[in-house]
């Protein structure tokens, strides 16, 4: 875990001077950050610092909020995502998202939840096989294989969250955005999600927002610290937690404020 720029010569996502607003509130100021491919990038910072907004800019979910907009450049494999003519709907199939609270579709069975992205997007193929593979990747297959027709509400919170991860994986994204995926879960379920993140980074580029600094230290390769809508510091996770360059980062990771 050295400097991420040497670790991953080809960054997956390059953000350059990104600004975001909710109506007149300017919530992200000139954020410039690279997210390396096939690794985990943690985004940390106190509440209201803009980390969730930043994450939601990456798959253009931010702009769905009425009055919200973003400016700057945002490149995925070199392609500018904020440019005119880019289909945000299509982009979201390449950049999946997992939310803070598990949000399986309550009217669909466990199987249908995983297959929902395929069905709603009209993607063909062997859904049976894809669902099984995604549930295995989400480390949920063994727990649900006998009740695929059951309701997702019969699952525990942690299982529901892994179901949501499986659902996101089914449309074969390249990037997985996770917005505090474990904050609504108990420690055991959290540990499972963290193990899962370790597995998933072999195939996916992951950006995870977290309030939990131990979690960031455990799961991520790179860490970015946001404060008041600005990126204060980004670097290898080890360096951010042991030898930050900026005083404010040190204050935050050592728990002096938050």
């Amino acid at each position: 875990m050295n400097d991420p720029s040497t670790n991953s010569p080809k960054p997956k996502i390059v953000v350059d001077r990104l600004n975001a607003w909710f109506k007149t509130a300017h919530v992200l100021h000139d954020v410039t950050l690279s997210i390396p491919a096939l690794s985990v990038t943690a985004i940390i910072g106190p509440s209201g610092c803009g980390k969730s907004t930043f994450l939601r800019c990456l798959n253009r979910m931010h702009e769905l909020t009425p009055g919200a907009r973003a400016e700057g450049t945002l490149r995925l494999d070199g392609q500018d995502l904020l440019a005119r003519g880019v289909d945000a709907v299509h982009l979201r199939r390449r950049v999946g998202m997992v939310f803070q609270r598990p949000n399986p579709f309550p009217t669909m069975s466990i199987f249908d939840n995983v297959a929902s992205g395929l069905r709603l997007n009209g993607i063909g193929g062997d859904h049976q096989a894809i669902v099984e593979r995604c549930l295995r990747h989400a480390a949920l297959w063994d727990e649900v294989k006998d009740r695929l027709k059951g309701a997702p509400s019969s699952l525990s919170g942690g299982q529901q969250q892994r179901l949501c991860i499986a659902r996101a994986l089914a449309v074969e994204p390249e990037v997985l955005l996770m917005d505090e995926p474990a904050s609504a879960l108990d420690p055991i379920a959290t540990a499972k999600i963290e193990d899962l993140i370790h597995e998933l980074r072999q195939r996916y580029t992951i950006a995870i927002v977290t309030h939990n600094m131990q979690q960031a230290a455990r799961v991520s390769d790179t860490t970015a610290f946001f404060y008041m809508g600005e990126l204060v510091e980004a670097g290898a996770t080890e360096q951010i937690f042991t030898n930050p360059r900026v005083q404010r980062t040190e204050d935050y990771v050592t728990g002096k404020f938050g």
């Binding site: 798959n59 979910m61 769905l64 009425p66 709907v89 299509h90 982009l91 979201r92 199939r93 390449r94 999946g96 998202m97 939310f99 609270r101 949000n103 399986p104 579709f105 309550p106 009217t107 929902s116 992205g117 709603l120 997007n121 309701a151 509400s153 949501c164 659902r167 996101a168 449309v171």
Partner: protein
């Protein structure tokens, strides 16, 4: 000790008073049921459901065409009213915060307060006069106009109850917004919407005023949308205002049939809602 006795006495008195108001509130319902059942049950027979009406003095006969006519009119009303009402409701919930949304919501509120006889006159002016005939179509559209505002507001509320996180989950999968609205949001709200539709249908089935000068009435079976059609409510009205004793009997029996029809729809709606709540738990 005295205060305790007093308090208990007040408690008993208050309980009795509350119970009495419940009885008073239920009295009209009970008397309606009792009157309709006791007077109407005498005329019930299989023929009543399947046969055409007979002229005065001729025994037998039924209101089969009126039952079918009510079903036909309500069916036409659903054909026009459900897509418009539910569609408008989804629009209001998803995009209704703009000026157009407020205008639609205001219109729906005003429309739901318009007396049904006025809606009958409007359908008369819009359809019956230009077509130069009373028709099932005009009756169906009059009923549809009644259903639309009710459905739109209920659908809006039900769709707004669907958690935002489900919309976002779908959008984050790269699903188009229209598809998200239909396949995720509307589908999640569907149970409630089915209940709303059943209630709207039972209300439409019980309407007389909008049908009096649109669908009019018909002594025979009718399946053509451009012809006058019988309906239970108008048939009851005609029987009830007639001077003939055996027609009065038929009015009571037809009222009982209508009550059973509307009541069972209401009951179905309630059972459906309760079943869904149990699932959700």
């Amino acid at each position: 000790m005295m205060r305790l006795h007093l308090r208990n006495a007040v408690n008993v008195a208050a309980t009795i008073a509350c119970g009495a108001t419940v009885l008073i509130a239920m009295a009209p319902l009970a008397s309606v049921l009792w009157l309709v059942v006791s007077r109407g049950a005498a005329g019930l027979s299989l023929d009543f459901f399947t046969h055409l009406p007979t002229p005065v003095g001729e025994p037998g006969g039924g209101v089969g065409n009126a039952i079918a006519g009510t079903a036909y009119l309500v069916g036409l009303a659903c054909l026009f009213g459900l897509p418009v009402g539910i569609g408008a409701g989804v629009y209001l919930a998803e995009r209704g915060d703009g000026r157009l949304g407020h205008a639609i919501r205001f219109t729906a509120e005003v429309l739901s307060g318009v007396p049904s006889i006025v809606i009958g006159i409007v359908a008369y002016g819009l359809l019956v006069v230009p077509m130069r005939r009373f028709s099932a179509l005009a009756g169906g559209i009059a009923l549809a106009i009644l259903m639309v505002p009710m459905l739109a507001r209920t659908t809006e509320e039900l769709v707004r109850l669907v958690p935002r996180s489900l919309r976002e989950a779908s959008l984050a999968l790269g699903v188009h917004e229209w598809k998200t609205s239909l396949s995720v949001v509307l589908r999640t709200a569907l149970g409630g919407i089915v209940t709303a539709v059943l209630l709207a249908i039972s209300r439409a089935a019980g309407e007389t005023a909008p049908l009096l000068f649109t669908a009019l009435n018909n002594q025979y079976w009718n399946a053509k949308p451009d012809q006058p059609t019988a309906s239970l409510t108008v048939q009851i009205y005609n029987y009830a205002i007639s001077p003939y004793e055996d027609w009065h009997q038929k009015a009571w029996t037809a009222a009982l049939v209508l009550l059973l029809l509307v009541g069972s729809l209401n009951l179905a709606a309630r059972l459906f809602t309760r079943g869904r709540l149990r699932d959700a738990r």
